[in-house]
């Protein structure tokens, strides 16, 4: 896997949140990231990121049917591909390796 396929921080959060959810779409991913990390997510940024990840082949986007609780608008479902799972695993591995040996220092500070 080439160097270009490393994930950005937000891409990593989006992919991981989509994997945690059984019903992953825009609003549920935003809610999941906000609830678990406490950071505020802008829907515009999320959609730009989803399209970028789709172009990289890490996820697939699929339109659902119209829904009344959303002003009659459909959900855009997100499905993480095998490529996406592999990219996430590689990202996690890189993070664990770079953190190895310095976690104690964080706890002491």
């Amino acid at each position: 896997m080439g160097e270009r396929e490393f994930l950005g921080e937000f891409e990593h959060l989006v992919l991981a949140a989509a994997m945690r959810l059984s019903d992953a779409y825009g609003a549920s991913i935003i809610q999941e990231i906000e609830d678990t990390t406490g950071r505020t997510v802008k829907a515009g940024s999320l959609y730009i990121t989803l399209e970028r990840l789709e172009k990289k082949g890490f996820l697939r986007l699929r339109m659902g049917g119209a829904e009344p609780g959303r002003g009659g608008r459909p959900k855009r479902f997100v499905e993480v591909t095998g490529e996406g799972v592999r990219a996430l695993a590689m990202h996690r591995g890189a993070l664990l390796r770079i953190w190895d040996g310095i976690e104690m220092q964080l706890e002491d500070s």
Binding site: G26, A43, G44, G69, G71, P74, R76
Partner: protein, 430 residues
């Protein structure tokens, strides 16, 4: 969702591809409804505005490039036109600043006042079927008295004899000193009869309300806490029920905790008042019929109109006037919808303020129109040069429109930002 929210989401469709717009707008509608429930309408408005503006910033540039196409970025095309417009604005920065600030002020002030009017006057009270919630009180044409007051004996007669109401309660607000886990707190409290929570249609989050025995002189000393006091004063102690706390130096047993957001009758007691606890009202504590220091609130029976309830209560009150001429002689009964009583004197000034702001906006628009007209007239030489070079009439007219367009783009963002800042400030004050 407010009308301007729907408008903003609709406007997004101009920038976003359909597949993105449908999904994103649906997500914003869904998350907006959740935010209204969790953090209130004002914060949800601010959140929605931020989200839409962010989406415009993210998608705007690429969408504009796609729509206009690179071949149209010429002197006569829209791209070149906008560049020329920006140059004209830069050439007369004083004029542009005056126009932008004038209209920004007008739009900002109007948006702020409209948000207040929408939040205060148009938002329903947070109780089930709030239209059935009424204040039953007395009015005396010979005395200037604010509405909402009555005496205990008159309340008892109405409660026992009137058939128009599902339930009727009496209350009296007062301040109290509460001994919490930290320092004693100054708190707003209300003495309420056992029917109080039923009238508002909100049961305690857990525990119970008051019993008839507790609402008597010498009854058990119990108290119901607000969610806020339970949270801030007792660290959300799960074993709060049955715990003894000190209220005004006397021990009281906690029997219930009200749900988050329940604040009756604080909204009537004054702006910004947050209720902390409720204590049982001993209805046998003051049998003086002329002492109108208490307030009655009732829930209209299913299908009973306000007019029918007024007729019945006034009939009963006529009997009370004959029976007790000394205490009730000049007094008439008065029934007001709770929301109207709470708004009371606030309604007229708010509408007046909104009207004034719209008037100010109209004056601003007239001023800006005359400024722009003067500016167009002062460009006679430039127009002559353009005509000599063969610019068609349409291009010349569009040139003038583009300058105003550039100013408009600036002032719209200034106005919305100004409005948003004041809107957030107002919500914090409120």
């Amino acid at each position: 969702m407010p009308f301007w929210g729907r408008g903003l989401l609709g406007a997004l469709s101009l920038l976003l591809p359909k597949s993105v717009h449908d999904g994103l707008a649906g997500d914003l509608v869904e998350l907006y409804s959740r935010r209204v429930r969790e953090s209130g309408r004002v914060r949800a408005y601010a959140w929605l505005l931020g989200q839409v503006m962010w989406a415009c910033l993210k998608y705007g540039p690429s969408a504009l490039r796609e729509r206009l196409g690179s071949s149209r970025w010429t002197l006569t095309g829209w791209g070149g036109g906008m560049r020329s417009g920006v140059r004209q604005v830069a050439r007369a920065p004083g004029f542009a600043t005056v126009v932008i600030l004038l209209v920004a002020l007008g739009i900002g002030a109007t948006v702020t006042v409209y948000s207040l009017v929408d939040g205060v006057l148009m938002t329903p009270m947070p109780y089930p079927e709030p239209d059935r919630l009424v204040s039953v009180s007395e009015d005396n044409p010979n005395i200037r008295i604010s509405p909402g007051w009555t005496s205990i004996p008159n309340y008892l007669d109405w409660r026992d004899r009137a058939g128009s109401f599902e339930s009727m309660a009496l209350f009296r607000g007062r301040s109290a000193s509460v001994g919490t886990e930290g320092d004693p707190q100054y708190a707003y409290s209300a003495f309420v009869t056992p029917e109080f929570f039923d009238v508002f249609g909100v049961p305690p989050e857990f525990g119970r309300g008051f019993t008839a025995d507790e609402a008597r002189e010498g009854g058990d000393r119990v108290v119901v806490l607000s969610y806020g006091l339970w949270q801030s004063g007792y660290g959300m102690d799960p074993a709060i029920l049955g715990r003894t706390i000190s209220v005004d130096g006397s021990p009281r047993t906690v029997v219930g905790v009200m749900p988050k957001g329940f604040n009756a009758p604080g909204e009537w007691m004054g702006a910004g008042i947050t209720m902390s606890l409720w204590q049982p009202f001993a209805v046998d504590s003051d049998l003086e019929r002329g002492n109108r220091s208490y307030s009655a609130v009732a829930r209209l029976g299913d299908g009973v109109t306000l007019g029918a309830a007024r007729t019945e209560i006034e009939g009963l009150h006529a009997q009370l006037r004959s029976a007790y001429p000394d205490a009730n002689g000049d007094w008439r009964s008065q029934i007001l919808v709770w929301h109207d009583l709470v708004l009371g004197a606030t309604r007229a000034p708010l509408y007046l303020l909104l009207g004034t702001m719209l008037f100010v906006l109209a004056i601003v628009c007239a001023n800006v129109a005359s400024l722009v007209t003067t500016r167009v007239l002062s460009r006679g030489r430039e127009m002559a040069t353009r005509t000599a070079l063969g610019a068609p009439r349409g291009h010349r007219a569009r040139g003038c429109g583009r300058d105003s367009g550039c100013n408009l783009l600036h002032l719209r963002s200034c106005g919305l930002q100004g409005g948003r800042a004041r809107f957030v400030a107002a919500s914090r004050i409120g």
